[in-house]
Amino acid sequence: MTLAPNISLGKEEGLKTEEFVVNIGPQHPSTHGLLRLVATLDGEIIKEVVPHIGYLHRSTEKIAENRYYHSFVPYTDRTDYISAMLMNWGYVMAVEKVAGICNPMRAEVIRVLIGELNRLASHLLFYGTFGMDVGAFTPFLWAFRERENILRLFESLCGQRLTYNYYRIGGVSHDLPKDWVGNLQKWLAHFKQVYKELYDILTYNVIFLRRTKGVGILSKEQAIAWGCTGPVLRASGVDWDLRRDETYSVYKELKFEVPVGENGDVWDRYWVRMQEMLQSISLVEQCLAKLKELDDKLPRLQRGSAEWKENAMFVIRTQSVLQVEPGEAYVRIEAARGELGYYLVSKGGAKPWKLKIRSGAFCNLSVLPEITRGKLIADLIAILASLDIVLGEIDR
């Protein structure tokens, strides 16, 4: 039987479909800030996603060229406002490297303690928003309850809940208050129980696994070539953590493991961050032990002696208008979202000549068009949430 000549079931004259351009954002409940994604869809399948950033660009780097070194610290808070302490830390480390300032031990231990606590808070926020984007509303509130407790600790420490301005060139701005360590230990004991609940409700839930396993796979080569860092890189199978491999501050004396994922899919990125939360808890406890050690040494140290300056001080008072010799340095730390680099060029004087902030989320977002090609639009949201971007850091 032959078909009539004008009926063709072949692919040359199939159904005429058009591509459909959908604009997601910049105002959207789940784009994590002011991000605009222009998605070209073919039905439900994504042909191309083009991210448009820059809605939150506040010319932080230009401002840096006009501020004294100490005055710039609050600006770094506003870049990644979710883990602001880590932003502060990178900047003050960069200035300290160029100016050649060494910090006392107590300051370094407090820096690591607070940094890890902030990483924990940032990952809790990731957990909550990721759960919400995948459709589970309850973990969001449980995670924020715990994050609220951390923020309360930070408020009692430095008076601020989001933009801390706590780190200083030479140490930290003030020492830990009297009952702070006790409150932290109480909260840690409580959080360990809550963590188990948070883990159990999502991680191996069947619906969650179906939404996230095998979705948005970022291969090792792609991740390395595109400059992804942080949990995104580790989830793709690269065992690299700046705290261990290019160690800074007190990390060489602290014991922690680096979780590495297998497939580089959305579930792995989630899992790596959950494990990093556990490691952060362990690091916080080790820092508390170190602080106790330093405190025990304290009565035997003579106030004003060299050993006291080395161990017990929490900040080296540099002049409020710090003059730095000419020099340049690229200093990087492992922030919550990846490698945070500060490239500081100083030509002498009280203000930097140039400051460039290399944020992890900027490079992580650049890989989005690659991993979403050919996927469904419902996956796009899950993938975007798993990259854990903060537009303040991307746009600066």
């Binding site: 995948v134 459709g135 309850t138 969001f140 080790q286």
Partner: protein, 434 residues
């Protein structure tokens, strides 16, 4: 109509006191005509008036319940999420001598506080500006929410709230009527999505229509087993079967059709667009899907119709699987109604619990689940019910538990071999204390 009711109609109050006392309100038009000839009411008018009265009662009952459900949803979600839910509008505060029982009133205010919240929200939505997008298809846009609500509420006509009070009591195909009326929502949601002139709404409307028609099949198939065992499509018969038939004066269908119950609950959650199947209204993906462009009262009609259909699905589950209005003391119509409400609210709480625990299914996974897993399971259930009925006809109800528990055992065995046990996390690091 019973003899007492007939005689009561001749009283000076037209039998109003009798009806209130017994909770019956069914007025059979032919008998009315025969007993009150001096009114010379045409039969149709009498019947129409009685229908209007009963429909009015049902609609108001549903509306009040829906208001309560909205409040309950917010309260339950809050309590699951470690917070308290609405507390401000409708404060529970003791006065006078009661103030000394402080902890009791605190407990009351957590569990029942904010009970007027829906009223406040309704007033707020009523006062909002009514926006119709410029290029929207105006009449389709206006009629979509009305049609959705109508489709939902038509199904209530046959649900037996009390022994004498489904509105269409003697409808032989009552069971089929609900699904016929409710399947109209697919069309009206598509109308809403299309007429909004918005790509997001269109995507949401299409997804929703696809989802609804996919899950209608397992929904109805799962109930075929119930109908086969009861032998009738009349809702009254289905409830009476659960009261009287069976070895010990009635067993609820949930014992005889556990698989059917599970499939029904899952399909009902999908039919009413509730999470974990709420992709058409997924807030984080499509900003509210097909109701993006609706504001003010039109949005509240959609919102209420979603809750009305959820309440209807729960009422149906309670009627068909949990025994409806039956229970100790349910000869009195009022107590029967209380039993009905209690069972329906049990199901409602289960629906809400599911909603706030699970993430959302992606649309292709949703469709695959409906077509590839639920429909075959429902068909197998029908097959097994047939086998069961044949065995019961041959041997009576003595070994009935075998017929119930064998399929459950088989499913468990299948599950153990197919599903892998969940790995636990490694929490050892949390035990180290410094």
């Amino acid at each position: 109509m019973t003899l007492d009711a007939l005689l009561a109609l001749n009283r000076w109050d037209g039998g109003l006191a009798y009806f209130l006392a017994t909770g019956t309100l069914n007025i059979d038009p032919i008998n009315v005509h025969l007993t009150l000839p001096w009114l010379h009411l045409p039969i149709v008018l009498a019947w129409v008036i009685s229908m209007f009265v009963m429909s009015g009662i049902v609609t108001s009952l549903v509306s009040v319940n829906v208001m309560a459900l909205v409040w309950l949803e917010r309260k339950i979600s809050g309590l699951i999420q470690n917070r308290m839910g609405p507390m401000m509008v409708g404060i529970i505060k003791p006065k006078g001598w009661a103030t000394k029982h402080h902890s009791f009133w605190k407990w009351m205010s957590v569990w029942f506080g904010g009970w007027l919240q829906t009223l406040a929200d309704g007033v707020k939505l009523l006062l909002k500006e009514d926006i119709i997008p410029t290029n929207a298809d105006k009449w389709v846009f206006i009629s979509a929410p009305i049609l959705t609500f109508t489709a939902c509420i038509m199904g209530y006509a046959v649900i037996p709230f009390t022994p004498n009070f489904p509105v269409l009591k003697d409808l032989n195909i009552g069971f089929l009527f609900i699904f016929a009326a409710g399947s109209y929502t697919a069309v009206s949601i598509l109308m809403a999505g299309w007429s909004s002139n918005n790509k997001y709404s269109l995507l949401g409307g299409m997804r929703s229509a696809a989802q609804i028609i996919s899950y209608e099949l397992p929904l109805v198939l799962s109930l075929i087993g119930v109908v086969m065992m009861a032998g009738s499509l009349k809702m009254e018969d289905l409830v009476n079967w659960q009261r009287t038939v069976g070895a010990h004066h009635g067993h609820w269908f949930i014992l005889y059709q556990p698989i059917g119950f599970l499939i029904f609950v899952i399909s009902a959650v999908a039919e009413t667009n509730r999470p974990p199947f709420d992709l058409p209204e997924a807030e984080s993906e499509l900003v509210s899907g097909f109701n993006t462009e609706y504001s003010g009262f039109r949005f509240s009609v959609f919102f209420l119709s979603e809750f009305a259909s959820m309440f209807g699905a729960c009422a149906l589950a309670a009627t068909l699987f949990l025994g409806g209005w039956s229970g100790p003391g349910s000869e009195n119509g009022f107590i029967a109604f209380l039993w009905f409400l209690a069972k329906t609210y049990c199901m409602v709480l289960i629906f809400m619990w599911i909603r706030w625990t699970f993430p959302r299914l992606r649309v292709d996974q949703l469709m695959a689940f409906g077509w590839k897993i639920l429909t075959p399971a429902a068909l197998i259930n029908v097959l097994w019910t047939g086998v069961e009925i044949a065995l019961v006809k041959a041997h009576g109800y003595q070994h009935q538990y075998l017929y119930i528990w064998i399929p459950i055992l088989l499913y468990c065995l299948l599950g153990i071999f197919v599903a892998k046990p969940k790995p636990r996390g490694d929490f050892s690091i949390l035990q180290e204390t410094s």
